[in-house]
């Protein structure tokens, strides 16, 4: 009797865990389906070619232009800028942490960096308005500093914890025997790092950059607050911009239900979703290839 009961408990728990696991998949599938469904409704009304090739996002005007291009360019520009700052900074910090930092400094620095990830994005956006933005305005002699450069600096700060943590894991995962081999031949620490350790950690470093990029692309509140909200085609880092995420956040609250404009916001969300999905897959792919290399 007792044995039967215990087997039943096992069976029940197995179903329960299976259920909770399935919830995640159902959620992801559901969100994806919702985006696609509404996007199809949008493309029934607007020509996809106009959507991808036009130069204006202007749903309020008489012409009603729905082109993703300026938003996509904004998102791309601000994310690329943030990576230009965060990648070298992040990888050098990770290398410093794992190869050079004395134990005590490492014990302080690592939690501090991880805490950086805990700062709410609205606080970072606030910092952009009162500190970084005015600084940029002063530096370039402009009226205000709410532009792509401002967004890039802030997003770099937000992507740093991800990039540093994963890069450091990748560098630590390089077998110690490689370092010993190099050092025993009389190489100094820098030669060992740049010619042996970092090349061996490369797949992991790429994964770190991809996941950091995913973070920068999907970020909303910071860029909404700090980049000036101009949905025009950006010409450079000193132009005000508006990303896909900020556009959705601003307009979704005010758009009438199930109008073309409403569907258009789903369409740009779907594009963003596909981009971040692809980036995350790439990141995971490289992270896995690192795991294989360790075995």
């Amino acid at each position: 009797m007792d044995v039967k009961k215990r087997e039943n408990t096992d069976w029940l728990l197995k179903q329960l865990f299976k259920g909770t696991g399935m919830v995640t998949i159902v959620l992801l599938g559901g969100i994806f389906m919702m985006l696609i469904y509404n996007s199809i409704a949008f493309f029934a009304e607007v020509n996809p070619i106009d959507f991808f090739t036009g130069y204006q996002w202007d749903p309020g005007s008489v012409d009603r232009n729905y082109s993703i291009l300026p938003l996509l360019a904004s998102t791309g520009l601000v994310a690329a800028g943030s990576m230009l700052i965060a990648v070298p900074l992040g990888i050098f910090t990770a290398a410093f942490l794992s190869e050079f930092a004395p134990g005590k400094l490492q014990a302080v620095l690592k939690p501090v960096i991880e805490m950086l990830a805990a700062i709410p994005s609205v606080a970072i956006g606030f910092l952009g308005i009162v500190l970084v933005g005015p600084g940029i305005a002063k530096l370039f002699g402009m009226q205000n500093g709410l532009n792509a450069l401002n967004g890039s600096v802030l997003l770099a700060v937000m992507a740093l914890p991800t990039i540093i943590t994963i890069s450091e894991d990748a560098i630590n995962a390089v077998p110690k025997t490689y370092r010993e081999a190099s050092l025993a031949l009389g190489a100094n620490k820098w030669a060992t790092l740049s010619q042996v350790t970092l090349p061996a950690a490369l797949p992991g470093l790429i994964a770190a950059v991809m996941l950091g990029l995913g973070r920068a692309l999907g970020e909303t509140m910071t860029v909404l607050m700090a980049t000036g909200n101009a949905s025009a085609m950006p010409g450079g880092f000193l132009d005000s911009i508006r990303t896909i995420t900020a556009t959705i956040a601003i307009e979704m609250g005010e758009v009438p239900y199930q109008t073309t404009h409403y569907f258009a916001l789903f369409a740009i969300a779907a594009v963003l979703f596909l981009i971040t999905l692809a980036i995350n897959f790439l990141g995971e792919y490289f992270a896995n290839s690192l795991r294989k290399f360790q075995a």
Binding site: P102, E180, S182, A184, L185, G186, N188, Q195
Partner: protein, 251 residues
């Protein structure tokens, strides 16, 4: 009287609070093979790693006493560790080729020590010949080094050390990960290398120590118990512990 190449004087080593090496005094004669033997944990690998300052890598290691390469004080802050490691090479327990091609494994250290570019290919060839590897790899120098067999990898690691023309080669159980045939090849290589280099080798294998050594040092619990010619230590040990260890009673 043998010329002394490398020596340790009143050497103590601590990891944190724990003392691993206790007052080691030893002289390694030039152009001879000296084996360090003793049971696991006796400190022989730890001692070996003192000679090229590999303990610099672990922050809790503390060393007092002196190690001298001829008259050069190895732990004197004035002396560059990279220069010391160029003069005192090391071969590790597990073959550890760099994740690069065979050729790059050989050229890596030469480039770092800024040997003239046009001499590098010749230096590599002669080091590979000395390590009995040239005939096996001369047509596939571009191949990744990890594609070689374990024994070939270890000979590559020896060649990579030899190419810098060090004065001393330290070997930390270089055959423990290899099959008997590869082991035999490495042993022959060690014997042929001693005409040019002073070799210090850690080994667990008593037969190996007898086959290749001129001198043998027996260590136990961080102390140097007995040091003498191979003949003396194995045939006529003075200390009771040595007698029991080489007689196979423990270890």
């Amino acid at each position: 009287m043998d010329q002394i190449k490398l020596s340790a004087h009143s050497l103590n080593l601590y990891f944190g609070e724990k003392q691993i090496l206790k007052n080691i005094n030893i002289d390694f004669p030039e152009n001879q093979v000296t084996s360090l033997i003793g049971p696991s944990g006796c400190g022989k690998s730890t001692l070996l790693r003192c000679f090229n300052r590999m303990h610099d890598l672990s922050s809790d290691a503390r060393i007092d006493g002196a190690i001298k390469l001829e008259d050069l004080d190895i732990y004197d802050k004035k002396n560059s560790v990279t220069e010391i490691r160029k003069r005192i090479g090391m071969v590790f327990q597990k073959p550890n080729p760099l994740p690069k091609s065979i050729y790059e494994n050989m050229s890596y250290a030469l480039n770092i020590h800024q040997f003239p570019k046009n001499e590098i290919p010749k230096l590599i060839e002669s080091a590979l010949r000395e390590s009995y590897l040239w005939e096996e790899v001369k047509d596939e120098l571009k191949k990744p080094a990890v594609k070689l067999s374990g024994g070939q990898q270890q000979r590559l690691c020896i060649a990579r050390t030899v190419v810098l023309r060090p004065e001393v080669i330290l070997m930390d159980e270089p055959c423990s990960a290899l099959d008997p045939i590869s082991t035999r090849k490495i042993e022959e290589l060690i014997i042929s290398l001693k005409k040019d280099y002073t070799i210090v080798i850690v080994t667990h294998n008593m037969q190996q120590a007898q086959r290749i050594s001129d001198k043998v040092a027996f260590m136990y619990l961080g102390e140097l118990i007995e040091f003498g010619s191979c003949q003396d230590v194995f045939q006529n040990p003075q200390n009771e512990l040595t007698k029991n260890y080489v007689g196979g009673h423990f270890g």
